[in-house]
């Protein structure tokens, strides 16, 4: 009942926001009718039907589940659950532990119908979300880069899993049996895949990874039933198409230009736009063979999810030569900007800049460094950082901040609508970038050597990119993600093995626990039997925390 009530409140809140934004009378009427129908139908749309996960319900996931990589399409990683809150977080306690005895967990589990689904490279587990007991385990050894796996996508009864040999596996969520497996890209060419597929209606959106080989990045939509390709969008346009003028002519550079699509994007159902970040161009550090901006690498692109057609793009790092993928989550929220309510998209990019865009058209609103950097002299009229020539990798070494691992990276940021703040795991990294390529560069063509790094959790004012608070989490490079909740809490971890809960308004620590290792994933939360759980993965162990259970009554 508790959650049903909350469902109703949620619906009302969202509908009210909707009303505020639209002056169209017919829309008002429609919304009112919908509200009425929802109330009549028992307050909220059930997320889980007898057939599994209803993809229409992904549009508005109930507060007690976590059905996509980011929990919902917005990428905010803000949960409306508030049972665990600033008033009681001191009594947070361990509910259960699951030890899969595998490689480091970098995935965010899904939680659907009382079951958690999560991954490591080659591995998928289904675990009882109440007790942490294994229900099934799927293992498929493969060649290819095993750097990590971020998790799953789900459609009805089916799970979607990407592999180190760049395949997409469709599993039956009931028992982990294989329904089909399709190859996304040729692993012999250096393609692999790590991302959690994104399900939008009857599309499974899948991206690919690459690193040392000079291959062409792409994003693909597949039929969730058959695995057949619906569309493919290439990061580099075909020669002659718009954007191709940002590559040298009459060379093979554009068709080997990289731009991997290795992190899960976000989606605005109203605008019917899919937002995706693309990776660095190749060869990675050696840019002389690819003079130009190298579109659409290191970009945020908006695509139609039904056709794969590009609606707009914004490029955080034109002609990148530092491996600064712009794949960090493009976070969607609606908020005030300069007196107007706007549909916004925010990214704290690996190059150290915070970008705020109008997500209807890609218009840039804010471009400001969220941490010290030494590579850009300013921002141009299109909101793009201007690279200093002397920060280009060179044979004698160029000292640059941040290093190639970036001022942030794939770990989840969060936007908390209650505080209006954008949270990011921000790192200071000093590196020397060496260009080693002789002749025509292939692959990386050089590398940076890390001198010193430290990590912080930061709250940014989305309207300016300015740092509101800074919480130091120690030397080294953190890859812990962030979750905020309606309980006025921010969950993350430091570099000393501590799990952290911070006050999202001030950044002050409210709770901590030495879990004995580094968090290399992003936290998530769900509610079951009226009890809120928070999942925090530490290295290869999954910890579930909750408030102490009520004492048994006799």
């Amino acid at each position: 009942m508790h959650s049903q009530l909350r469902g109703m409140m949620e619906c009302r809140r969202s509908c009210e926001n909707h009303l505020e934004r639209n002056t169209d009378l017919s829309l008002h009427l429609r919304v009112v009718v919908v509200v009425f129908l929802l109330l009549a139908l028992g307050l909220h749309v059930p997320l889980v039907t007898a057939q599994g996960l209803d993809s229409a319900a992904l549009l508005k996931p109930a507060a007690d589940t976590w059905p996509t990589y980011n929990g919902d399409y917005s990428g905010r990683r803000f949960s409306t659950l508030d049972q665990i809150n600033a008033g009681n977080v001191g009594s947070l306690t361990l509910a259960w532990v699951f030890q899969p005895h595998a490689s480091t967990i970098k995935s965010t589990p899904l939680e659907v119908n009382g079951i958690l689904y999560f991954t490591a490279p080659d591995n998928v587990w289904a675990v009882d979300a109440r007790f942490g007991r294994e229900i099934w385990h799927y293992h498929r050894p493969s060649e290819g880069d095993h750097i990590g796996n971020r998790g799953l996508g789900m459609y009805k009864n089916w799970l979607y899993f990407t592999t180190p040999d760049a395949h997409l596996v469709c599993l039956d969520a009931k028992d982990g049996s294989v329904r089909w497996i399709v190859e996304l890209a040729d692993p012999k060419l250096g393609y692999f895949s790590t991302m959690a597929p994104l399900v939008i209606r009857d599309h499974v959106i899948v991206g690919v990874s690459g690193d040392v080989t000079d291959v062409r990045g792409f994003l693909e939509s597949l039929d969730p039933e058959t695995g057949m390709i619906q569309w493919r969008w290439y990061t580099e346009p075909d020669p002659g198409q718009p954007g191709s003028e940002t590559w040298p002519r009459d060379t093979d550079a554009i068709l080997h230009g990289g731009g991997m699509t290795w992190m899960t994007g976000t989606f605005d159902p109203e605008l019917n736009l899919l937002y995706w970040g693309t990776g660095n161009p190749n060869p990675v550090l050696a840019g002389e063979g690819r003079v130009g901006d190298n579109l659409y690498t290191c970009s945020i692109v908006a695509l139609n999810p039904d056709t794969g057609k590009l609606a707009w793009y914004f490029q955080p790092s034109p002609h990148d030569v530092h491996d600064w993928d712009a794949v960090e989550t493009p976070v969607l929220f609606d908020a005030e900007f300069k007196g107007k309510q706007r549909k916004l998209l925010a990214q704290a990019s690996r190059n150290g800049f915070f970008f705020l865009l109008d997500r209807t058209n890609g218009q840039h609103l804010v471009a400001a460094p969220f941490i010290d950097q030494t590579w850009a002299s300013g921002v141009d009229s299109r909101g793009r950082p201007i690279a200093k020539p002397e920060a280009t990798p060179s044979p004698d070494g160029a000292l640059v901040e941040p290093g190639s691992d970036g001022a942030s990276n794939w770990m989840a940021p969060s936007f908390d609508p209650q505080t209006g703040l954008f949270y990011v795991n921000a790192r200071r990294i000093f590196s020397i970038f060496y260009l080693t390529a002789t002749g025509k560069p292939e692959g990386w063509g050089g590398r940076d050597r890390n001198l010193w790094a430290n990590s912080t959790l930061r709250a940014l004012d989305y309207r300016t990119g300015k740092v509101v608070w800074n919480h130091e989490i120690g030397n080294g490079e953190s890859i812990a993600g962030i979750l905020t909740t309606a309980g006025h809490l921010l969950f993350s971890a430091d570099n000393s093995g501590n799990l952290l809960v911070l006050d999202p308004v001030t950044g002050k620590a409210l709770w901590h626990l030495n879990a004995g290792g580094r968090m290399a994933a992003s936290p998530m939360t769900y509610e079951l039997d009226g009890r809120q759980y928070v999942i925090l993965a530490v290295q290869d162990i999954l910890y579930a925390f909750s408030l102490p259970p009520p004492l048994p009554s006799h």
């Binding site: 080997h256 060179s394 002789t438 292939e442 501590n498 901590h512």
Partner: protein
């Protein structure tokens, strides 16, 4: 392309290098494999393959297989799928008449050698993110040692803690050039000293063992590990590397290379 190591004008030199490269392609018969010294391993099959490749294939595919009139074979899908010449051999023997590639008579051994060479080139690209530990000093030596000395004694403030005849004597003999460059900027491994003041006023001092938001730990004078809750004590950290971190913010690329040129001379 060693000319690129001449840093102040390396961009300009690049253009010249490209012209030179084109000329090399044109006169590939005169091309000297010594210009690509790191291109090939010690494997004799790879050595033979390189020569065979340059004779039979280099004119179209470039002397280093990165493409010219014909495609780049370092990033070729066919080469990626080839196992000991099973696919490469067929293409050489049959040619690709539709694309203007003539068939060429080659022995089985020649196919094996060419395949070994092409796989070695592909492997080189795969390893191109590794910086060799024996990174050539001449690439790093682009700065002015006199300017480096002036910075050391002046604006850099280095002489406050260091002396070329003291702690830095023979420093260049202790580290490889590339490690020296890194250590000049940030000599990691220097421990902080923690000074902890207890509520009683007693002070405990020693090398820092651990620090986070909640706990501070050190080795005391007797060598014992001691930890304290941070909210119960006052902590002062004496970090010898703090000055280096401040310097990282201020150094220009020229400062870095001038300092390196100066300190590399100390041996």
């Amino acid at each position: 392309m060693k000319m690129r190591t001449n840093r102040p004008a390396w961009r300009g030199k690049l253009a010249k290098a490209a012209i030179l490269y084109a000329a090399i392609l044109f006169f590939f018969g005169l091309w000297n494999s010594a210009a690509w010294p790191q291109a090939v391993s010690q494997d004799p099959a790879v050595e033979r393959g390189l020569k065979q490749f340059q004779q039979s294939c280099g004119f179209c595919h470039g002397p280093d297989a990165t493409g010219a009139r014909g495609p780049d074979l370092v990033r070729s899908p066919l080469v990626a799928h080839d196992v000991k010449g099973d696919k490469i051999g067929e293409v050489i023997r049959l040619g690709r008449p539709d694309k203007g590639m003539p068939a060429m008579p080659v022995t089985d051994q020649q196919v094996l050698d060419i395949a070994a060479y092409l796989h070695a080139r592909a492997a080189e690209a795969l390893n191109s993110a590794e910086i060799p530990s024996k990174y050539p000093m001449e690439k790093l030596l682009t700065g002015d040692p006199e300017a480096g000395k002036a910075y050391f004694n002046g604006a850099g403030g280095c002489k406050i803690c260091h002396a070329p005849t003291g702690d830095l004597a023979m420093i260049a003999a202790k580290y490889s050039p590339i490690d020296l460059e890194a250590r000049i900027l940030y000599p990691r491994g220097k421990n902080s000293i923690a000074v902890v003041t207890l509520p009683s006023g007693e002070q405990v001092k020693g090398p820092l063992a651990h620090a986070d938001d909640f706990v501070i730990a050190l080795r005391d004078d007797s060598g014992w590990y001691r930890s304290f809750l941070r909210d119960r004590v006052k902590v002062e950290l004496q970090d010898p590397l703090a000055v280096h971190r401040e310097l990282l913010d201020k150094l220009t690329q020229a400062d870095v290379h001038n300092l390196f040129a100066y300190l590399e001379g100390l041996k």
